[in-house]
């Protein structure tokens, strides 16, 4: 489904990002993924992707740093010859009730989750504009749609991603570029292990189970492929019915 395409995935070394990298690679895409700090995990992921017969490379980059993002995207274009798909997946949490949440903790989450997505989009924008095609997929969260106690920073950043998605979609719709958001509910990854150990939360999900990273990857594949060419500015929940 993605043969001949180059996909850039942020936060790609593990969790949802790694699942997206693997499914995209399985479908023929070349993969450039960004990771924050876990070089060992990134090397493992790169090897796994290469074993699938596609070109793949991990780039260490803090997406909250606009200068690093610009340099990394330039490097990717030089290495891969272009970019066709961008998945803004890199995300962090610093969960606390508001009285305990420091301003710096609010900023850090917004800087990575929201501004990081903006910086990435800013870099691929001219490329997509010029080639008159491209797919941008932003990973938001159900938390950004309905809020979540203890996640004021995270929810705000993910709600921001929804606004960002719709603005980008409107700016680039006439140029054949699609921009959509995925809003996952509770997906079993390292980042959510404090939640996924909780039976009460599980019972609040109509499907009575946590999602898998691969579930999100399948939706990302649809949004990255031609199958979704007439969809833009959309936010799709993938949450076992939790937020309906």
């Amino acid at each position: 489904m993605l043969k001949g395409k180059v996909a850039v995935v942020t936060g790609g070394s593990r969790g949802i990002g790694a699942a997206i990298c693997k499914l995209f690679a399985k479908n023929g895409a070349e993969i450039a993924f960004l990771y924050a700090g876990n070089t060992q995990k990134a090397e493992e992921t790169q090897k796994e992707l290469e074993a699938m017969g596609v070109k793949a490379k991990g780039y260490q980059c803090n997406v909250a740093d606009a200068t690093q993002v610009a340099a990394t995207v330039k490097e990717i274009v030089a290495d891969f010859g272009g970019i066709h798909i961008l998945v803004n997946n890199a995300g962090i949490t610093k969960d606390k009730l508001i009285p305990m949440m420091k301003a710096e903790e609010f900023d850090a989450v917004v800087d990575t989750n929201l501004k990081g997505s903006f910086y990435m989009i800013k870099q691929v924008y001219p490329l997509f504009l010029k080639q008159k095609s491209g797919k941008i997929i932003n990973i938001s969260s159900v938390s950004g749609l309905i809020g979540n106690a203890g996640q004021a920073n995270y929810s705000a950043s993910k709600a921001g991603v929804v606004g960002l998605t719709k603005s980008v979609a409107k700016e680039l719709a006439s140029r054949g570029v699609c921009c959509n958001a995925i809003a996952p509910g509770f997906i079993a990854t390292d980042m959510t292990e404090t939640f996924t150990a909780n039976e009460e939360i599980k019972n609040a999900i109509p499907m009575k189970r946590f999602g898998q990273a691969e579930d999100v990857a399948k939706l990302a594949l649809f949004l990255a492929s031609e199958a979704s060419d007439y969809i833009t500015g959309e936010v799709i929940r993938i949450d076992g019915g939790m937020a309906m």
Partner: protein, 74 residues
Amino acid sequence: MVFEKVAAMLAEKLECEVSKITMDTKFEALGIDSLDVMELLMNVEEEFGTEIELGDNKVNAVGDLVTLIESKLQ
């Protein structure tokens, strides 16, 4: 030199006579939107091998763009 290049690029894009484009021609009158101007700027960057940011500059007429490019090239 810059004007001639920009006019030629515009004429090619719009498939019109290059003589129809002057420094005073408004982009709006040519049916060119802000994204088209950005695209034009990117082509100019490639042509002249320089990076030009629109920044806060208002680019309404062909002359505005030419002046901006010339200032960056100096």
